[in-house]
Amino acid sequence: MSDVSFVVNGKRVSGAAEDRTLLVHFLRENLGLTGTHVGCDTSQCGACVVHVDGRAVKSCSMLAVQASGSTVVTIEGLANGADLHPVQAAFKEHHGLQCGFCTPGMIMTATDMIARHPEGLDEATVRTELEGNICRCTGYHNIVKAILAASKTMAKASKGKAKQAA
């Protein structure tokens, strides 16, 4: 057993867990954050993607204790109260989901992707970057549309902020 202690969605949390506990199980079972899904459980599908210290990782392929001391963001940490995160809003607007099971991982991957490409995204880049996330419903088309739209909205918003600051 180890003490696992990290900041999740801005809140410091801690708890005891067996060393073999996977991060995804700690999030879901100890913290009740069931937005992060277990899909394939073999690190292929990306339904379990969360951000650890600002980087998208597969929480089914990482021990909870490995993340101790880190900052973790899950799908529950994106929206600001009732206001959806721009990526969540874009998935809603462009119908980037059908059953929704892969959506939390898709959105966490998308926010990481957009942050790593401040120069903007094109369709080929989005499709390549989605390699680690599998969707069995949509055929990806609307997911790609949603990510491209969110990338544009977020670029505009950050330019607006920069103008305000100036």
Partner: protein, 265 residues
């Protein structure tokens, strides 16, 4: 996963000490080891986590000498500006491993120590004539990769870095399995002051190897056209559900041609 005791090493010396506990294994990014433990293909009693040791992270380029810390992630190798200038082929290779989330965790040291027969880095290190630096000694890549998942590492020995001299020209071309993204055949071509070397991953019965036939042809003329009609022998190549030995032999020549063209561009 069977029960395991986790230890976070503060330094390489600390890790070496911790490795003496039970049947311990080193943990770096864990992108192979954790899935292997989940399926009980691996069941170490203890895990010694190297990923937070700062000394093991980062890329250094000094003149033509490139040194990459063992705990540097694929993402950081792919995006290092100094490396992209000194040896863009290696940065490009790192960008082709797994997917973005895997590249955020997986490390060069972990990949090299695991020596998966379809891993990308072994081809690069063998073709670049790299040195694998451990906490005990320095090992030439040619002596390091000894077979499928086998290396010259002794029990408890820890890779701290890999280093090599930046080649004049190099490129890596990979024919990926469409599902797993692993190389069915990957060919790394490097042209440096010691001539041309060509290393092949994904195809060999005994893991990564150098293709003498292709090297001989390219030594005379470093051009894709020098490989026209060249037959790579299928002997000692793998046959599995994805590709026969003959198909792999053919792919080696095709990937080598593409790599030479890319290196010459």
């Amino acid at each position: 996963m069977y029960a395991v005791n986790y230890h976070r090493a503060a330094s390489v010396a600390d890790a070496a000490k911790l490795m003496k506990s039970g049947d311990a294994k080193l943990l770096s990014g864990g992108m192979t080891l954790i899935p292997a433990m989940k399926t009980r293909l691996a069941a170490p009693s203890d895990l010694v986590d190297l990923s937070r040791i700062k000394d093991l992270q980062g890329v250094k380029v000094s003149g033509k000498t490139v040194t990459i810390g063992a705990a540097t992630t694929h993402h950081d190798v792919a995006n290092d500006e100094k490396l992209r200038k000194a040896c863009p082929a290696l940065a490009h290779l790192a960008s082709l491993i797994g997917d973005p989330a895997v590249r955020h965790k997986g490390t060069i040291g972990g990949s090299v120590a695991n020596n998966d027969p379809a891993a990308d880095y072994p081809a690069a290190l063998l073709a670049l004539g790299a040195t694998i630096v451990t906490n005990k000694r320095e090992i030439a890549a040619a002596k390091f990769f000894t077979g499928l998942f086998e290396t010259a590492l002794k029990d408890g020995e820890i890779i701290t870095a890999v280093s090599f001299t930046a080649p004049a020209r190099a490129a890596y071309e990979k024919f990926r399995n469409p599902a797993s993204r692993y190389a069915i055949v990957g060919v790394f071509v490097a042209k440096g002051k010691d001539g041309v070397s060509v290393a092949v991953t994904g195809a060999g019965d005994e893991g990564v190897f150098r293709s003498k036939e292709i090297e001989a042809a390219l030594a005379k003329n470093f051009a894709a056209s020098a490989l026209e009609g060249l037959k790579v022998p299928a002997k000692n190549l793998m046959t599995d559900i994805h590709a026969s030995a003959e198909y792999r032999a053919s792919l080696i020549a095709v990937m080598a041609k593409r790599a030479v063209a890319a290196a010459s561009a």
